[in-house]
């Protein structure tokens, strides 16, 4: 078990900077998810840790060792690939035992350890089969088994659940969480699925365009997104983001094209500290913090109904506020009865405010 540290790490492919000045420290035993849209550099970051890519700048440390120029085989890492990369010509047992075999572990000890790991991952009945003869979920477990079998320093996952169907994915997710608690090894987990990251991570590193935008525990990322990008990326459906202006003349408020939101006193304090009158801002409210109301609410929203989506225990109501769409998530077993014009109120404590450049204003 070891920590992983990036100092100003860069990786360019020709003119494309896949990783652009990344700094972080992952402490021993921590489970970190790299989360971000496709192409933002998650896989490249992971491969830099593994030694499958050479950094074009900065340096990488595993534990106290500078591994920037160390070959993959000498880094003592376990990695689960997106396509599992199970060797088709080896049995499941041979696949799991391969890292031990290259470390010249004697056959007996190897068999014992393979048995142990396979049992833990509930694939001990399959050791004689070939990868082509087992299910997707079992293949996924096999590749996890192969990655843990030699008790590596760091454990890397590249979207390990993306090839499973929805139901299996949830099952496998719980299992990974359980396994990580049990093994407690430092893990870096790449995913573009925010639910997966929320469920698994001790800390989430949200990436965009080769940079880490925010790195914090899941709830922190959810409750205090550092930028509009993060706010928009986490949550389902994502946070409503509406452009507006600060108005400090008279009663302090945010004024948008089709709304006016009065500032609470603690918000006003923060806004006065960071912004001036008339500044452009983005205000954000999560759909789950909005509620429908029969009558107009002052400081709330109203607009014509745009769409109603019933999802079982909850429904999504979207209304048109000026040119913007606003989604309200309501929890109710029944489809709501809606008039042509919909009114929505929100909990003012849950308001987010971002600068024009997308940075969060700490309003709490």
């Amino acid at each position: 078990m070891a920590s992983v540290t990036f100092h100003d790490v860069e990786k360019a492919f020709g003119t494309v900077k896949a990783v652009d000045g990344v700094n972080f420290t992952i402490t021993e035993g921590e489970f970190v998810c790299l989360l971000g849209p496709s192409g933002c550099g998650k896989t490249t970051t992971l491969r830099l840790i593994a030694g499958l890519e050479k950094a074009t700048g900065g340096n990488i440390q595993i534990g106290d060792l500078d591994v920037t120029h160390l070959a993959a085989k000498d880094r003592d890492i376990g990695m689960v690939f997106q396509d599992y990369a199970l060797y088709p010509h080896m049995t499941i047992g041979e696949n799991i035992g391969y890292p031990l075999k290259v470390r010249n572990v004697p056959t007996d000890a190897r068999a014992t350890r393979i048995g142990e790991v396979a049992k833990n991952l509930q694939i001990d009945k399959l050791l004689e089969r070939r990868p082509g003869e087992i299910s997707g979920g079992q293949q996924q477990r096999t590749s996890v088994a192969r990655a843990v079998v030699h008790e590596p320093q760091v454990f890397l996952f590249d979207e390990p659940l993306s090839n499973l169907d929805a139901k299996l994915r949830l099952e496998a997710r719980s299992f990974l969480k359980h396994l990580q608690r049990e093994v407690g090894v430092t893990a870096v987990y790449v995913t573009h699925d925010q639910a997966e990251a929320m469920a698994l991570a001790d800390r989430i590193a949200v990436m965009n365009e080769g940079r880490i935008v925010q790195m914090a525990p899941p709830l922190e990322v959810y409750h205090r997104p550092g930028t509009t990008f993060v706010a928009n990326f986490l949550g389902s459906p994502p946070m409503n983001l509406l452009p507006g202006k600060v108005a400090l003349d008279g009663e302090p408020r945010f004024v948008g094209e089709a709304f006016t939101i009065p500032m609470q006193s603690h918000v006003e304090t923060a806004v006065r500290q960071h912004l001036s009158d008339g500044a452009q801002v983005t205000v954000g409210i999560r759909p789950e913090h909005l509620d429908l109301s029969q009558d107009p609410v002052s400081g709330g929203f109203q607009g014509p109904l745009y769409a109603l989506e019933t999802l079982g225990p909850e429904s999504l109501v979207t209304l048109k506020v000026g040119d913007e769409l606003l989604t309200v998530r309501i929890f109710s077993d029944d489809a709501p009865q809606l008039a042509d014009t919909v009114h929505a109120a929100f909990d003012p404590e849950k308001l987010h405010v971002f600068r024009e450049n997308g940075e969060r204003i700490p309003v709490e």
């Binding site: 360019a12 492919f13 020709g14 030694g51 499958l52 890519e53 050479k54 074009t56």
Partner: protein, 301 residues
């Protein structure tokens, strides 16, 4: 692409070395050697075997000597024969029949399609000598299979290899090589998304319209590939030699046979090399056209 390589550069170079040696020795070297020899009067035995003399363009001038260029058994005549052979057996015959077969059996998978395809492939992979022998028997003047059938229907029964040698060799080559274009076109047709054809069906396009408006445009690049490859192969094939030896009286002497006769019947290597040079230049033309097409295809893919 600066992906970290799985193989280091020195190891990679080492891996390439054995193949590289063979390719340099047996492909690059002959290419330059033949150019050198074609300017000499090198022979197998005698004084000019050890000390060949530089004769300049003599070998080429003799090849292209206008006074007998087109006489029977000369280079020009051989080129003309080759032109007919390539045009009728490769471009018209193999490509067209291959397309017809692929189209005919398109979406008609089953044992019948399987059988016909297999037989065509067998005709393609059997050793040259054996198919030549089989055709020698098939085309035999009296009692050969073909004439037995023609006779049964009361049709004329010529002695094919003597009376119609070039036609025989052309049909032989069509039979021999059609499997390639058939397979190429089948896989091209198979790659057309079914929805394209279904859309055409819904719109009410006739079979002919579907072929002309959808299928041919979609497999155009495959058609070009097939045409150029089979042209190259047919131009270089030596197999007619096994059926006719180039005869009777040079009537089937394609350039490959002409090269052989020039170089090895009298061991006049200088002249043989000059013919080889001309062949290579023609090959180069075809290959360059093919390569440029291949590259534009890959780029647009």
């Amino acid at each position: 692409m600066q992906r970290r390589p799985i193989l280091s550069l020195p190891t990679g170079a080492l891996f390439m070395l054995p193949a590289g040696i063979f390719i340099v020795a047996f492909i690059l070297l002959p290419f330059f050697w033949i150019a050198a020899v074609s300017f000499t009067n090198r022979t197998l035995t005698g004084r000019t075997a050890v000390n060949p003399e530089f004769v300049g363009l003599d070998n080429y001038l003799r090849l292209f000597d206008a006074s007998r260029f087109l006489n029977s058994g000369e280079f020009g005549a051989s080129l003309l024969i080759t032109g007919q052979f390539v045009f009728f057996s490769a471009i018209i015959g193999q490509a067209f029949l291959g397309l017809a077969l692929a189209w005919f059996f398109f979406n008609r998978k089953g044992w019948i399609q399987n059988t016909v395809t297999t037989i065509a492939i067998i005709a393609w992979i059997m050793p040259d000598v054996v198919v030549a022998f089989a055709w020698f028997a098939f085309l035999n003047g009296d009692g050969g299979t073909l004439n037995q059938i023609l006779g049964f229907f009361g049709l004329p029964t010529p002695d094919w290899l003597l009376d119609l040698p070039l036609v025989s060799v052309i049909i032989f080559n069509i039979w021999r090589g059609t499997a390639f274009s058939m397979l190429l076109f089948s896989s091209a047709l198979g790659a057309i998304p079914p929805s394209y054809l279904e859309t055409a069906n819904v719109v009410g396009a006739s079979t002919w319209q579907r072929l002309r408006d959808i299928i041919l445009p979609m497999i155009r690049s495959h058609i070009v590939t097939a045409l150029i490859l089979i042209t190259l192969w047919t131009f270089n094939t030596f197999t007619p030699f096994l059926l006719t030896g180039g005869g009777p009286s040079y009537q089937t002497e394609v350039v490959s046979i002409y090269t052989y006769r020039t170089a090895f019947q009298f061991f006049r290597f200088g002249s043989g090399a000059a013919v080889g040079m001309v062949m290579m230049i023609i090959n180069l033309g075809f290959a360059l056209v093919y390569l440029s097409l291949l590259r534009t295809q890959r780029r647009s893919a």
